[in-house]
Symmetry: C2
Subunit: 213 residues, 2 copies
Amino acid sequence: MKLYGFFRSSAAFRVRIALNLKGLAPEQEFIHLRKNAQSSPDYLQLNPQGLVPALIDNGAILTQSLAIIEYLDETHPQPPLLPRDALGRARVRSIAQAITCDIHPIDNLRVLQFLSKPMGHDAKDIETWFNHWIKIGFEGIEQTLASDGKAGKFCHGDAPGLADICLVPQVFNAKRYPSFDLKPYPVIMRIFDACMAVPAFDAAVPEKQPDAE
Amino acid sequence: MKLYGFFRSSAAFRVRIALNLKGLAPEQEFIHLRKNAQSSPDYLQLNPQGLVPALIDNGAILTQSLAIIEYLDETHPQPPLLPRDALGRARVRSIAQAITCDIHPIDNLRVLQFLSKPMGHDAKDIETWFNHWIKIGFEGIEQTLASDGKAGKFCHGDAPGLADICLVPQVFNAKRYPSFDLKPYPVIMRIFDACMAVPAFDAAVPEKQPDAE
């Protein structure tokens, strides 16, 4: 098993947490997104989407973080990252996708770069943009976690799973600018703190990766 | 079962296709996104994320289109929307997520509205933005479909599934501006045409919905 990632990539961060929770430690190769290594011919041959992460398992190439994590959960079932019941799985996937579809891609590096050039925005505009989409997304997630009675120590009950795996990297992103106020999200932050006390999450943080700058 | 949707929403379009493939015809309620009905207190009570679609099944509220479709596939297994093998499921989910994470949210109505105000962009800028993200995404998907030997009549073999369900609404979006050239994507368009010949896809198109304008 081999993981292609980048220390600052939220999507790679998710997969690192899942691998750690499963007790898997693949070989790693680092694709430097700020140097545009994801657009090299060699990497595009591997992943035509030009994104990290990618995972190679038994010669097969897997892409997209949620697809990779569900694959890991199916092929290495312990500990489970999704609940056993269909409604619980739908709830966890929905929280995960509220982050991975409706917050993170809009704030991704390539989008911010496009806002700068050719769209002509300065750093202040980009900060406003970045924080806006996290705020809208976190408001909905906080409300869900606070009100539907399903959160426990973690997003769904008392064991960490797919929703937590997506939440933690997004909180790291939310801390990027001090202008983003995390106080309106006490449940998100309580769960974030619980996750960070779990070694599998802590070992996956960007600054602890071999390619960290 | 009750579906909250909007004829122009790509995410609701996906769920309509899945429901049609499963032979399910829930009651429908229409949330007019251009009139901001998704932000009404009543709808936010139902879905704090303020997005469509939402599905109510036996009193439970489900949100996020992919989570809803996987739930439908688990609770109504025939016909299956995902392959039986873990690698096949990972491939189909990856193609689906290449659209639902990395194209569609960046081009979503609320993002385009934010580009207009407060970001100050005109219609021409927004068209450039809109087409740019589809082009980047389609290039990767076309390459995958054309080269990995897994596509058949549809994205994965010869039966329609989750990847096709996500691809078709995105092709509808790609046709929004005549300036977007679909010729570089012959495999995507061949599969799109095969899907549109399936009644479950055809009946789900925006202009055939009761709330179409």
